[in-house]
């Protein structure tokens, strides 16, 4: 099986993340008091990479964390099996920090809504921004990303697959037909 289209190659993923890192610095006038929190699963390595780039560009160590939103999902009554609840780890005080929430794909906005609830239960950050590698549209909630690697208009019957080196052995963004995956 092959994807319908390769949206981002490894180099393009790297460039997209570098651009997002620059935008984060520009918008926040540096990287002081920032924190990056990745949403399970692929948001976590993306957050780590952005933190690395921020550190290279600004010479500041930006703390990173990981967030699991399972217990905050609004569709728990519809899942057939219980998903595994993964670890939430935010080993720093959120107060007075501007948090950049990082995820791979922005779609309906429901994951981000859940992540905002989960984050706010952990403390009161000075602000929350959202960075995603791909925005594929079809929002069901009034949520938008502050930093987008690639805007990708899609049909509902399409699937966006983000692969990252850390878990998939390769960096890429692919577009698939849902039917082809069934």
């Amino acid at each position: 099986m092959t994807p319908k289209a390769i949206i981002l190659t490894p180099d393009e993923v790297r460039r997209a993340l570098t651009r997002i890192a620059h935008e984060i610095i520009e918008r926040n006038k540096g990287a002081e008091q920032l924190a990056l929190i990745g949403v399970h699963t692929r948001g976590i390595p993306l957050a780590a990479r952005l933190a690395q780039k921020l550190s290279e560009l600004e010479g500041v160590a930006v703390p990173t964390g990981m967030l699991d939103i399972t217990l905050y999902r609004d569709d728990l009554s519809e899942v057939a099996q219980q998903p595994i609840i993964r670890e939430t780890q935010v080993p720093f005080d959120l107060r007075d920090r501007r948090v950049v929430l990082v995820d791979d794909v922005l779609y309906t906005g429901r994951t981000v809504r859940a992540a905002l609830d989960a984050l706010i239960d952990l403390g009161r950050p000075a602000g929350i921004q959202l960075a995603v590698l791909v925005d594929r549209g079809h929002r069901e909630l009034p949520i938008r990303a502050d930093y987008v690697g690639k805007n990708l208009p899609t049909a509902a019957g399409e699937v966006v697959k983000v692969k990252v080196q850390e878990t998939d052995g390769v960096d890429s963004v692919e577009l698939w037909d849902l039917e082809a995956l069934r």
Partner: protein, 314 residues
């Protein structure tokens, strides 16, 4: 979104461990790790069970189990209806079935049942048609206590595989011992049950991974965890013991007996304790004791069990 995990057919109730695969039981322990994290947060609450109503139906006295379940349900954002039989129409002769029908008409989504009669939780499951968690029925089962015991041992040693848990005392009357004997071997641990012959039902020896002995030193030798059971004095009318002092002299879990166990062995007790009877004050409060840890873990385990039974559809 996290991937769903296949772990065998999904049981509707937690009455005992019969229908529960090791994979599902392990998932409960794994998810309890997350629940413990929730309990450490400034906001000790998640919205997973929002909109659901859980009935704490306690037909037998209990403080810690009832409180633990109630808090667990509230931490998951469920509404909790607490029903204490002592202050109910059960005292006026109302049957369990009629009581349940009344409670069900309040739109209860799940029951947590404690009852002095073995099998009562099964009955509630049958009549209510809702998920039921057994919070202790007669001498038969107390599954969430066994899960929190298993969790506490796993927390200490990283795994249950190949670990030995010695359980000493009034095994005959103990639903905790019975549930542990059923659960721990499913998760790879060995269980040694020990007590005076009058309090040690021989039938339990047929359970896989379970051995019986009347010799406490033999029971504790090589054990990673030693659990003292409460001596149920209210059930000791049948001439099971010569004297309490004789029992304490032989079967009490104390520092001297713990010398026989593994060097890092821990002390457990399901509570409430009869200090200086089945357990010495020194052992209960000493560095090996994980008794308060059990209480803390109990809440996380019960949150995890509620999550497993109430979240998602068939």
């Amino acid at each position: 979104m996290n991937a769903p995990v296949s772990m065998g057919a999904r049981p509707r109730n937690l009455l005992d461990f019969q229908d529960w695969t090791p994979e599902r039981l392990t998932a409960i322990l794994d998810n309890a790790d997350t629940m413990l994290q929730v309990l450490d947060r400034p906001v000790k609450k998640v919205p997973a069970l929002q909109g659901l109503t859980v009935c704490n139906a306690f037909f037998e006295n209990s403080t810690r189990t009832r409180t633990s379940f109630e808090l667990a349900a509230r931490r998951m954002s469920a509404d909790v209806l607490t029903f204490a039989a002592g202050a109910s129409s059960v005292n006026k002769g109302e049957s369990l079935r009629d009581t349940l029908e009344v409670l069900t008409s309040y739109k209860v989504d799940a029951y947590i049942v404690r009852h002095h009669a073995s099998g009562a939780a099964h009955l509630v499951a049958k009549y209510s048609g809702k998920p039921v968690i057994n919070a202790g029925d007669g001498r038969r089962a107390h599954p969430t206590q066994a899960l929190l015991d298993a969790y506490t041992v796993r927390q200490e040693f990283g795994s249950l595989e190949g670990k030995t848990v010695a359980i000493l005392g009034d095994v005959r009357h103990s639903r905790v011992a019975r549930s542990n004997a059923e659960l721990l071997p499913k998760l790879g641990a060995n269980v040694v049950l020990c007590g005076p012959a009058t309090l040690l039902p021989a039938g339990l020896a047929s359970l896989p991974g379970v051995t019986l002995t009347t010799d406490p030193r033999e029971a504790v030798r090589g054990a990673h965890a030693v659990m003292a059971l409460r001596l149920q004095r209210e059930r000791m009318t049948g001439g099971f013991l010569g004297s309490l002092q004789e029992y304490a002299d032989t079967y009490q879990v104390n520092e001297r007996l713990m010398q026989e166990a593994e060097s890092g062995a821990i002390v457990l007790h399901p509570g409430p304790m009869n200090r200086d009877l089945e357990i010495s004050g020194e052992a209960a409060d000493g560095p090996r004791s994980r008794i308060l840890k059990q209480v803390e873990n109990g809440q996380a385990i019960r949150m995890s069990v509620l999550y497993h039974l109430l979240v998602g559809r068939e």
